[in-house]
């Protein structure tokens, strides 16, 4: 049964007070579970907008987007309930400690063993000794490890990552990238990463280059 996101001939634009800016036109792609994809390109090319459209956060101004979960055509809300996100700014809940942040998705889904699972994931990302630390007591890399684990913990079909290593140094970026790709392969979810980093993009199964409204396979 297919679990995919299909973008067919989509175009997107936005208007400011003075002009209408067209980001891309007639663009098609398919995102599948079990695959990792990286979207690279210069700033302002529309990478984050493409990610938002693929994640069902906003509708394109033209074209069609279809979401399938186990062969069933579903709407954007259902897709979002089966997706996870990783952000450049980590976005952990400041009032919760590390394990609290990690358990959050499971608790919201009503899991009784949320904290047990969170403890397992915390060990998996090597932060068991940081369980009771709040985000401001953690380094950027540690925060992002928690954020990655949080995205994967509820076993989503797709993970969308927006510049996940943009705030980190090269060495930490490397470890975060490994963690993301390992988790994606282990869980079999579809991972879409928007990044400027060629090293990060190189680890994905597919690399797409978005520039001047065109999306092309990158070498």
């Amino acid at each position: 049964m297919k679990t995919t996101i299909e973008l067919e001939n989509i175009s997107h634009e936005f208007t400011t007070d003075r002009e209408c800016i067209r980001l891309f036109e007639d663009l098609s792609m398919t995102i599948r579970t079990g695959q990792t994809q990286a979207i690279v390109g210069p700033s302002g090319a529309g990478k984050s907008s493409l990610l938002s459209i693929a994640a069902g956060l906003e509708a394109p101004t033209g074209g069609t987007v279809r979401f399938f979960l186990d062969g069933t055509n579903v709407d954007a809300r259902t897709l979002r309930a089966n997706s996870g996100f990783i952000f450049q700014q980590f976005h952990l809940m400041p009032e919760l400690d590390a394990i609290g942040n990690l358990a959050l998705p499971l608790r919201l889904k009503g899991a009784r063993d949320a904290f047990d699972q969170a403890a397992d994931w915390l060990a998996k990302v090597g932060l068991s000794d940081r369980a009771r630390h709040r985000p401001h007591q953690l380094s950027g890399g540690e925060q992002q490890r928690i954020a990655v684990a949080r995205a994967f913990i509820s076993n989503p079909s797709f993970i969308f990552a927006d510049e996940p290593t943009g705030n980190l140094d090269a060495r930490t970026s490397e470890s975060i990238a490994s963690l993301m790709f390992d988790c994606a392969r282990e869980t079999g979810c579809g991972l879409v990463i928007v990044t400027h980093s060629r090293r990060l993009a190189a680890q994905a199964d597919t690399r797409l280059h978005l520039e001047a409204g065109k999306l092309e396979m990158a070498a």
């Binding site: 309930a81 996870g84 998705p105 608790r107 995205a151």
Partner: protein, 825 residues
């Protein structure tokens, strides 16, 4: 279950920051005030209901201001199984050189129908019961009266030329309930003891205490409604206590005070809401990023808010219980025997009402939350401030609270209008000052132009801060100003009043005696203005109590006969407020002019027909104009005035009201005047000012407590204002310091910011207070508004200094941390 637990954890976490704590403290303060008010009211209502059963002295009491005609008396006695007639008159009793104004009750041999009288030989000796009133030729004096007159059992008192022997000290009457909260001195005689020639006053009351089965009571009530439209009826079963409406009005007045407190609370909550909303939007966006639908997130945010409200309600209920016990203990002087009792339903209703109003305040936040999006975490989109929506919902919920509690629409409307004026003024001033400052500073260097530039960028947030502080200042300033001016008005009453002896009621035969006595004792009669007692019984053909159910001071006064004055000219101390005043000598005598506050309270319109019972007849008047009091030309003004030509058509004795100036030596001679004319009602100004002092004492006690609440909430507003904008200021300071500015420069910049905020807020507060003074002083308190400019300037300086100082301290606190911390906010 885990969602509920998470909601609870979130709610407790939210209470750990200052916004959460200020918000909960504000809610708790408002709840405590309203629950205390409700519990006190419920206890008093319960006391009144129990009291009605035990202290009416009959199954039914029928009260009229004129004695019943023989046919009516016979009809009544035919329907009842037992009737006792009593008559109450206001007279002056003298004993040797002492005198006292007294409520004299003349009773028949059947009195009392139910219950027993309690009497004693001296005010301090053991009491005994009596099954009937005094015999003919005897008089019983109330304990306070006996002390005041220095009269003892066995002595003789002259009344209307007749000698009466003091045979007992009166301690308790079983129909005491009918006196309500009157503290008049009391005496009782047998009806046959009174001289037939003793003149009667228009304010005299005849009461028929009636016993009979339920069906007979219903028949009597129906008969009285039809045959005696000016009569009032109090029933033991299913009736209302005479004090119930008095208390209802007191509660409504306090309710209006709570409207002002609620407004302050709303301002504080609005300020903390800004940060709460940002936090919730962030939380919801993160929830969304881990697959939680927005609806669930909003429900959890609302749940968290509700849990914090419940916590505030629990805290407030506990505090209110303590305050309620203390207040009831104090009120026992007015309501002896009242006990602090719990009414769970009333408390729940109050909490429910406040919950609804606070939820109305939350509506703009909820609307904004419904637009929370995961996209904001990717794109860092800005947040709209929705100032107008917040203002609209804030005003709506305050208006709803006013509608639920206020009985005085004129006062409520004026208060809200003054707040509106202040808001418009502050919005205009903020926008004007900030925009002009920005334009002025564009080509200049220095911190002030930069401060204007920053303020211009944060104009909406700045407007909210200014409006909050300004409204808080307005309400604080107005309350303190009113307290100060009311106190000085009361204290200055003796100085501004014309004359030192008020003639509160003189009959036609007294006038000559008054003039004679005045010339014999070098006293002066300054004014004497005629009137007749008239009871308003219907409006446009509808019975007064059916026409208007909403309690008010005016309606309460109109349950009794009022003074109806006739005149051809607008009196010198009145001016025309609206409509057309009649021409001198007009033949159209059925016109009437009414005071505007009475018109508002009773919802009268020009052209309405007002029907009065005067003596035995009813008279219709058409409302053609309204008149308002203006200072100068004496202090006596009448609520209702008719053309002089009306007098010829009215069959009732004339009374007079006025003032006299007595030299010091004449005071001791007053007793001789009263011995000849005991029904002549004179009130020395000293006595009046004593009463004012007592009232002033109570007013001061209430207003001090109220001002304490206002100050507490004003403190919350200031704390919320500092706390709500602290993160912005920290970020701004961090940015500036990273660009090389020194601590001192940051402090100076912040000082400019706070100074502009405080100056605009203070100007708005003073403008609003000015508008409120102009509207409310004259209309509600008969005072002309003459603000003391030094006092106003002093208040403004104090307010600006306080705000700047608090802002300075907050800024210093935030500058203690490093640039990195400041940048992280």
């Amino acid at each position: 279950m885990s969602k509920l637990r998470l909601t609870l954890e979130n709610s407790l976490n939210d209470l750990k920051d200052s916004d959460g704590r200020i918000s909960m403290a504000t809610q708790a303060a408002l709840l405590m005030f309203l629950i205390t008010l409700t519990l006190t009211s419920a206890s008093i209502q319960k006391f009144l209901a129990t009291n009605l059963d035990q202290m009416l002295g009959a199954d039914l009491v029928l009260e009229t201001h004129e004695p019943l005609a023989p046919a009516q008396e016979n009809a009544l006695r035919g329907m009842a199984s037992g009737v006792s007639r009593t008559r109450l008159s206001g007279i002056t009793l003298t004993h040797k050189d002492a005198w006292a104004r007294v409520q004299l009750k003349a009773v028949d041999s059947q009195y009392p129908l139910e219950g027993t009288l309690r009497i004693a030989d001296t005010p301090a000796s053991p009491e005994r019961t009596a099954s009937s009133g005094p015999e003919v030729g005897e008089i019983w004096l109330g304990a306070r009266l006996a002390t005041k007159l220095q009269a003892r059992v066995g002595e003789t008192i002259m009344l209307g030329g007749k000698a009466l022997t003091v045979s007992a000290i009166l301690l308790h009457e079983p129909d005491r309930l009918m006196e309500g909260h009157s503290v008049d001195l009391r005496a009782m005689v047998h009806h046959d003891s009174l001289s037939a020639t003793l003149p009667t006053s228009g304010k005299d009351r005849t009461r028929h205490l009636i016993a009979g089965p339920t069906d007979a009571q219903a028949a009597i009530e129906a008969w009285a409604t039809d045959a005696l439209p000016a009569a009032s009826i109090v029933k033991k079963h299913g009736g209302q206590h005479p004090l119930a409406t008095f208390w209802q009005r007191t509660e409504n007045f306090l309710g209006l005070a709570s409207v002002i407190l609620f407004f302050l609370g709303a301002v504080a909550l609005d300020m903390t809401n800004r940060r709460w909303l940002a936090k919730m939007r962030y939380r919801l966006a993160i929830y969304s990023s881990i697959g939680t639908p927005l609806g669930t997130g909003i429900a959890m945010a609302l749940g968290g808010w509700f849990l914090s409200f419940l916590l505030a309600a629990l805290l407030a209920t506990g505090l209110a219980a303590l305050a309620h016990s203390a207040i009831i203990a104090n009120l026992q002087t007015v309501f002896p025997g009242a006990e602090a009792s719990w009414s769970v339903a009333d408390v729940a209703q109050t909490i429910g009402l406040l919950l609804m109003l606070l939820m109305a305040l939350q509506i703009p936040s909820m609307l904004q939350l419904s637009r929370a999006s995961l996209l904001s975490l990717i794109r860092h989109t800005g947040e709209d401030s929705h100032v107008w929506q917040r203002l609209f919902w804030g005003l709506l919920s305050v208006s709803l609270l006013a509608a639920a509690y206020s009985d005085n629409w004129l006062l409520t409307g004026m208060t809200l209008a003054a707040i509106g004026v202040a808001l418009v003024l502050m919005i205009a001033l903020t926008w004007g000052a900030v925009r002009l400052g920005d334009i002025w500073g564009r080509r200049r260097t220095g911190l002030l132009p930069f401060a204007f530039f920053i303020m211009r960028q944060r104009l909406f947030a700045k407007s909210a801060q200014v409006m909050g502080l300004g409204l808080c200042g307005l309400l604080l300033l107005f309350t303190l100003m009113l307290m100060r001016d009311l106190s000085s008005m009361m204290e200055g009453y003796a100085r501004t009043h014309d004359g030192n002896l008020m003639v509160t009621e003189a009959q036609e035969n007294h006038v000559e005696a008054l003039h004679d006595w005045a010339s014999a004792n070098q006293a002066k009669v300054l004014t004497l203005r005629p009137f007749v007692y008239a009871k308003l019984i219907s409006v446009n053909g509808e019975r007064l109590n059916d026409y208007m159910q909403k309690p008010s001071d005016s309606l309460a006064s109109l349950q009794e006969p009022i003074r109806l004055h006739w005149t051809d000219q607008m009196p010198a101390n009145n001016r025309l407020k609206g409509g057309t005043f009649w021409q001198p000598g007009t033949d159209n005598w059925q016109q009437i002019s009414v005071e505007p506050e009475v018109m508002t309270d009773l919802n009268f319109s020009y052209g309405d027909t007002l029907t009065y019972q005067i003596g035995d007849n009813q008279y219709d008047f058409t409302l053609t104009s309204s008149h308002v009091f203006q200072s100068g030309g004496g202090s006596i003004t009448f609520w209702f005035q008719v053309p002089a030509s009306a007098r010829a058509h009215i069959d009732a004795p004339s009374r007079f009201m006025g003032s006299m100036e007595l030299p010091e030596a004449a005071w001791d001679k007053l007793a001789s005047l009263w011995q000849q004319h005991p029904t002549l009602a004179l009130a020395p100004l000293r006595e009046l000012t004593e009463r004012f002092d007592q009232t002033l004492g109570i007013v001061t006690q209430i207003t001090s407590g109220y001002a304490g609440m206002i100050l507490l909430l004003a403190l919350f507003v200031l704390a919320a204002s500092v706390s709500g904008f602290r993160a912005d200021d920290r970020q701004k300071n961090g940015l500036l310091m990273s660009m090389g500015l020194k601590d001192k420069d940051c402090l100076w910049l912040n000082f400019h910011d706070w100074a502009v905020t405080a100056l605009v807020a203070a100007a708005g507060a003073i403008g609003g207070a000015w508008a409120a003074g102009l509207m409310i002083y004259e209309a509600q308190f008969g005072m002309s508004y003459q603000p003391n400019l030094w006092w106003v300037a002093g208040t403004m300086v104090l307010m600006v200094t306080t705000v700047c100082l608090v802002g300075y301290l907050a800024c210093r606190q935030s500058l203690k941390v490093s640039v990195r911390d400041l940048m992280n906010g």
